[in-house]
Amino acid sequence: MLSYKQNPDPSGLHSRRCMNRKKDKGFEICINNINFQRKSVIGYVELTIFPTVMNLNRIKLNSKQCRIYRVRVNDLEAPFIYNDPTLEVCHHESKQRNLNYFSSAYTAAVSAVDPDAGNGELSIKVPSELWKQGDEMKVMKVYIEFSLDQPKGGLHFVVPDVDGSMAERAAHVFSFGNQNSTRFWFPCVDSYSELCTWKLEFTVDASMVAVSCGDLVETVYTHDMRKKTFHYMLPIPTAAPNISLAVGPFEILVDPYMHEVTHFCLPQLLPLLKQTMSYLHEIFEFYEEILTCRYPYSCFKTVFVDEAYVQVSSYASMSIFSTNLLHSGMIIDQTPVTRRCLAQALAQQFFGCFISRMSWSDEWVLKGISGYIYGLYLKKTFGVNEYRHWIKEELDKIVEYELKMGGVLLHPTFSGGKEKDNPTPHLHFSIRHPHTLSWEYYKMFQCKAHLVMRLIENRISMEFMLQVFNKLLSLASTASSQKYQSHMWSQMLVSTSGFLKSISNVSGKDIGPLIKQWVDQSGVVKFFGSFAFNRKRNVLELEIRQDYTSSGTQKYVGPIKVTVQELDGSFNHTLQIEENSLKHDIPCHSKSRRNKKKKIPLMNGEEVDMDLSAMDADSPLLWIRIDPDMSILRKVEFEQADFMWQYQLRFERDVVAQEEAISALEIFPTPASRLALTDILEQDQCFYKVRIQACFCLAKIANSMMSTWTGPPAMKSLFTRMFCCKSCPNIVKTNNFINFQSYFLQKTMPVAMALLRDVQNLCPKEVLNFILDLIKYNDNRKNKFSDNYYRAELIDALTNSLTPAISINNEVRTVDNLNTDVRLILEEITRFLNMEKLLPSYRNTITVSCLRAIRMLQKNGHIPSDPSLFKSYAQYGHFVDVRIAALEAVIDYTRVDRSSSELQWLLDLVQNDPVHYIRHEILSMLAKNPPFTKAADSLLCNEALVDQLWKLMNSGTCHDWRLRCDAVNLYYTLFGLTRPSCLPLPELGLVLNLKEKKAVLNPTIKSEQGPGGPEVTTTMCTVIFFDFCQFPTQEEEDIDMDTVHDSQAFIYHHLNMLERPSTPGKEPSSVEQAMLSMPGTPMPTLSKESTSSKHGDHHHHHHHHEHKKKKKKHKHKHKHKHKHESKDKDRDSHAFSNSPASGRSIRSPSLSD
C-alpha cells in the first residue's frame, strides 16, 4: 500500500502558479498492496493544499495510467475528469504522416498537461461547499484512491519465472522514468518546482523490504503478521519527481564507514555489494569537503535492481542503480565505471534532488553543477590526466554532435509560446519540454552543461565557483528547515537568473558574454589555423579563420590563448579574435640557434634534451597549440608540419596535446612518425590512454606505409618485449594484471595489430598466428584478476583481422570452401562461445565479443548470413549485454539483407519486450544503423511500415517518454521531416469522408503545404474519455449534472485556452454538449474529442469562429460517431496496451451531498 502526502509549494512565486491556483504543502502516499503475481498496486494519496488564490474551485493533478476510484476533498466526494492528450498524440483517423505535424501536436499535448503551467491530466472539481473556505485560504485535503494494474511505465516489476515464493524468486519492483514521470505511479503534481514534505507508507510482504525516500520511521507488522508496513518521513521539501520506491527481497548492507548509509541488493549478490560499496565513503567525503556542506539528507540508500531503466537514477536520499554495476574484486574494467556511476549519483543528490529547478529551462544549471563537481571528483580520484582526457572526450563529443545535428541550446527562452519562436528550428523535436527531447540530445545537453560550468570556473576561478555552490546549498538547507508558511522554500529551487546572480555577487565578475555565447545560444566554434614564420621580423604569423555558417556553429569573438613552444621555452599569448582580423603576429623570443646544445625548457618547467635535427633550420618553433586549456567549446583544425606534431607528441606533457598530435599524425605516414609513436608506446610514464591511442594510429600508419615498412609487423616486437617470456618470445607470460596500465596496453595492442593489412589487403599471417598464440598460451591461473575482458579483446582482435572473403560467382558458403585462416578463427570462437556456457565470464563479455565476431564473419561472406543465432541470443532471459550485442547484429543484418521480416521482428520486440532499456536500445540502434534512410529508396520503405511507426510514436509508446522520442528519432532518420516518399501521393484535393458524410480538404495535402507551420498548433487533439466506474453503482443514477457539467466545461475551456489564447469568451464546448446529451444511466464508454482533429481540418486561429459553427451543425452526427469511435478506440488501445489503466481514464461521478 502506498500512501503519499504532498504538501504543495506555498510561495506562489511564479505567476504561472496562479493558474494552478493551489499550493501543496504536504503529501501522504500509502501503498497498501503490491501484488507481484498480478503486477498491481493499490493505494491512496492525500495532498494538503494551501490555496493561494481566491475561489479555488479546480485542482489539477498529474496522473497517468492510474485507475482512480474516488477523490475526496476535505472528506467530500469530488467529481473529477481524466484527460490525457499524450495517450494518442494525433487522432488516429488522421492521415497525416509528417513529422513536423506530429512534433508540434506532441508538444502541444505535453504542454496541455504540463504541471509547470498549472495543467494536469486529472482535474478535480472542488465541491462547492468548500468554495467559501477557499476564500478564507484554508487548508484543503485532497484524498485520492487509486490502483495500478500491470503498469507499463513508472513502476517496473521484475518477476523471474522460477519456482518458489516471490522472495525466493528475487521478484522486485522499482520506480523509474525519464524526468518527471512520477505521475505514472501515483497522482501528484509532477513538477520539479512543486515542493512539499512527504509521508510515505508501503505495506509489503513480510519477506520484502520497501526502500523509499526519507527516513524509515518504523516498520510494523500487519495484524495477520504476514505483511509489514514501512513508514517513511521526508521532512525536507521535495518535488514529486524525486520520489521513488523499490520493493524486493533485498539483502541489506549497512555501510561500515557511514552507518546512515544503507545499501540494498538482490539475493546472493551481497559479496559483490560489499566490494562495490567499499569506497563510497570516499566520494561522500570528497563532495562534503569541496562543497563545505554536509550531505543534505539524514540518510542515503542505494538500491541495485535488475532490468534498470538507466544505470543511475537519483532520487531524494536514495539512488537506484542497475545491478549490473556490481562487481567482484577480481574485475578491473568495471571498477572505474561503477565508481563513476556512484559519484554521478551522489553529485545529483546535492544538485538535482536536494536543490531542484525552477523550470525546465533551468535544468542546465543542475546538470551543469552536478556534472562539474563529478568532474572534480574524477580529477581527484583518477588524476589530472584522466580528467583532461575526459574533458577532451566530452568536448569532442559535443562538437561532433552539434556539427552533425545542429546546436544544443542550454537555456531556451520561449516568448509567447508560439511555434514561430522555436529557438531550435533545426531539430525535428521540440526542446520546450523534457519529454519531447531526443535522448541523445539530452545526453549532449548534460555534456555541454558541465563543460560550460567549467568555462565559468575558468573565468571566475574554482574558489569562487565552490563558494557559489556552497551558497546555493546553505540557502537551501536553511530554507528546508523552515515551515511551509515561511515561503522560503523557493530557495531550494535554482534558476538561471538566480545562479548568475550568485556568481556575480560572489565573484564580482561579469560573465554575461560567456553566458550569452554558450548558454543562451546554441552551436560550437570551428577554427581553422595555419601559420607562417617570418624570419626577417622573427615573427610568427598566425592565421585563425572560423566557419560560422554551417549548422551547429556560431561565431566567436573574444580572447583565445595560443601556446608557442620555442627553442627558448614555452610562451602563452592571448589573442583577441575580432570580427575582421584573421592574422595575428606573435613575436618570437628565440633566434634559431640550435647549434648551441642546450636543454629546452617546457611549459611545466622541465628541461629536456631534444634531437633538433628534424626541425626547420630557420625556425625556432617547435610546436604551436591553439586554445590549449579548452576554454572555448570548439573544434580546431590546425596545420603544422609533421615534425612539429612529432615534437608535440614526444615532449608536450599535456595529454590533450599528445592526443591531438596522435590524431594529426595519422596523415603523416613516415618513419619519423612511426618512431615517435613507438617511443610513446614504450614509455611507461606516459598516460595509458595516450598509449592506447598511439597503438591504433600506428596501425593506420603502418598500413599507409605498407610498401616501405621494414621489420616485423608494427607493435609485434614491442609486445613481445613487454609481455612475452624472455626465453621463448613466442609465448606470452602467464597473466599478471597487477599493473593496470600495462594490462590495458596488453589488451589493446593485439586489437590494434589485427588492423594491419598486407599488400593483398589481408591481415598478415604472422599477426594472425601471433594472436592465435596469445589465445592458446593465455594462462590466468596465477592471476589475482579475472581475464575475461582480456580474452574478449583477443576475440575482438580476431574480428578485426577479418577481411572480405573472395567469392566466386556468389557461391553458397559451405564448410568445405572455408578459408583455412577463417577456419582457425571459427574454431576459437566456437570453443570460447561454448565454454562460456559452462563457465560464464563476468557480464558475459566473451559471448558479446563472439557474437560480434560471428556477425563480422557473416558480413564478410565467410559464413552464410543468418540472423537466427542472434535472435536466440536476443531473447528475454539472456544477460542484457548479450541481448544488446545480438540485437545489434540483427539490426545490421536487417540493413545489409534488407529483411522486412527481421525489421518486423525488431519492431515487435520494441512493443513487447519486458525490459524498457532493451526497447530503447533497439530504437536507438535502429536510428544509428538504419535499414534505409530518406535519401535512398528501399523495398522496406512502404506504407505499412510508415503506419506502424506512426502508430508506435503516436500511441504505442505513451507509457515511456524516452521511448516515444526514440520512435520519433527513428521516424526522422527513415523518412525525414516531411511526408514519407513511399506514401501514395494524394490525388484528390477533396476527400469524401463517408463516415462523416462530408467532404474535407485532403489533410495530407494541407500538411505538405505548410510543414510545421503554425496551423498545427490549433489541432491539439483533445481526447477525453469518460468511463463510468462500475463500483459506485447506486450513485451513478443521480449525477449532479450541474457540477459535472461545470467541471467539464472548465477543463475543456482550459485546455483550449492554451491553444487559442486569442479566442475570447466562453467556448460552447463539445464536451458540454456531450454531457448534456448523456443519459442518466451509466454508459460504458463514451469518447469525445475536439472536432477540429476529427475533421482532420487544421485551421488557423482566425478560422476558429467558422469552426465553431461547423461544430454546431454537426452536433447530432457526432453522437453517431461516438459509438464508432469508441469501438475503434477499444481496438486501438488493445493493440498497444494490455493494461486497462493505461489507455483508459476513469471518471467517477459521485454525489457531493
Binding site: I252, V254, P256, L269, Y777
Partner: protein
C-alpha cells in the same frame, strides 16, 4: 607321485576360500579333483571293479583327498618342528609312519606290474602367481632377524610412495603442454556438451561442423553473469594475497551469525526480511543504529483514519 603332489601348492591353504575364490582357482580345484577321481577310478579298476556308483566314487575320492591332505599337513608340521621351511623326504616318511602306514611296502606297490599310468594334470593356471612388482629397494633384514624370515615388503607399501617423473625443465615445453592440454580438455568437453544437448549451427549444409551449444535463457540471468564462477574463486584462493582477507571475512561472518542468533533467541524478534543477516564488523554491528536493522514492531491497535 605323492611327492610330486606335495610339491604342488598345499591344498588346505585354498580350501577355506573355495566359495569366495575366483574362477581360475575354482577351475584349478575342479581339475585337481577330477584327477583324483581318475586316480580313484583307476585304482578301483585295478582292483577289479567294473563300475561304481557316483556316491561311492565321491566318498572314495574324498577319503583319498583327506588322506593326502593329512600327509601333507603333517609333513609340513614335522618339517617346521625342526625349524625348516621345506619338507624333506624323511618328513614324509615319518608322517606316514605316524599315520600307521608301512613304508616298506611302498616301493613294491609302486613297482607293481598292473599299475595304470595317468597323465599328470596340467599345472598351467595354478603356477601363474603374478610376480609382485618390485618397486624400489627392499629393505634387508636387520641382523637380529634370521634371513629365512619373510622379506620386507616393498618400501612404497609402508613407508611412502615417491612418484618419479622426468622433471620437464624446459619452460617452453611446459607452457606448450599446459596450453594444449587445456585446449584439448575444453574442446572435448564442449564437443561432448554439444553432442549431448541442443545445438545451433553456423552452416546450413553441415550442421555438425561448428556446433554451438544452444543459448538457453535463464530466469535470473544476472546471477551467472555477475557472480564469479567457482573456478575463478578457486584461482583467487590459490593466489595468496587475498587469502587473509577472506579468512577474516568469514570469521566475522560466523561470529556475526552466532551473535545474531543469540540476540534473536533472547529477544524473540524476527530478523529483517528475507532472513537477511546484517553484515559488517560484528562488534560494531550491535551498536549501529540503522532503521533497517531494527526489529519489526508488532501491530498496535491503531486508530483508523
Amino acid at each position: 607321485m605323492l611327492s610330486r603332489r606335495l610339491a604342488t601348492p598345499i591344498p588346505e591353504k585354498r580350501s577355506g576360500s573355495s566359495k569366495t575364490s575366483t574362477s581360475p582357482t575354482d577351475n584349478y580345484q575342479l581339475a585337481r579333483r577330477r584327477t583324483l577321481q581318475v586316480v580313484v577310478s583307476s585304482l578301483l579298476t585295478e582292483c577289479g571293479f567294473e563300475s561304481a556308483e557316483k556316491a561311492a566314487m565321491e566318498t572314495l575320492t574324498e577319503m583319498m583327498q583327506s588322506y593326502i591332505t593329512e600327509v601333507g599337513r603333517c609333513a609340513k608340521a614335522t618339517c617346521e618342528h625342526t625349524a625348516r621351511s621345506t619338507p624333506t623326504l624323511s618328513d614324509v616318511v615319518i608322517t606316514l609312519v605316524e599315520m600307521g602306514f608301512n613304508v616298506d611296502t611302498l616301493p613294491v606297490y609302486a613297482k607293481r606290474s598292473q599299475r595304470m599310468v595317468i597323465t599328470a594334470p596340467p599345472i598351467t593356471n595354478a603356477s601363474v602367481v603374478p610376480k609382485a612388482l618390485i618397486a624400489g629397494q627392499k629393505r634387508t633384514h636387520p641382523t637380529y632377524i634370521p634371513s629365512h624370515f619373510p622379506e620386507f615388503p616393498d618400501p612404497h607399501t609402508y613407508i611412502k610412495t615417491p612418484t618419479f617423473r622426468e622433471p620437464v625443465s624446459d619452460y617452453q615445453v611446459v607452457r606448450e603442454k599446459a596450453a594444449s592440454q587445456r585446449r584439448d580438455v575444453e574442446r572435448a568437453l564442449t564437443r561432448f556438451m554439444a553432442k549431448t544437448g541442443e545445438t545451433e549451427s553456423l552452416f546450413k549444409d553441415d550442421i555438425s561442423a561448428f556446433p554451438l551449444i544452444a543459448a538457453k535463457p535463464s530466469a535470473i540471468p544476472y546471477l551467472s553473469a555477475l557472480l564469479p564462477s567457482e573456478l575463478e574463486l578457486q584461482t583467487l584462493e590459490e593466489t595468496d594475497s587475498s587469502e587473509q582477507d577472506d579468512q577474516t571475512d568469514t570469521e566475522n561472518n560466523s561470529s556475526n551469525v552466532s551473535q545474531d542468533d543469540q540476540s534473536a533467541d533472547k529477544e524473540n524478534v524476527v530478523l529483517p526480511p528475507g532472513g537477511v543477516v546484517p553484515t559488517g564488523k560484528a562488534n560494531e554491528e550491535n551498536m549501529i543504529d540503522n532503521p533497517y536493522l531494527r526489529p519489526v514492531k508488532k501491530p498496535k491497535v491503531r486508530r483508523k483514519k
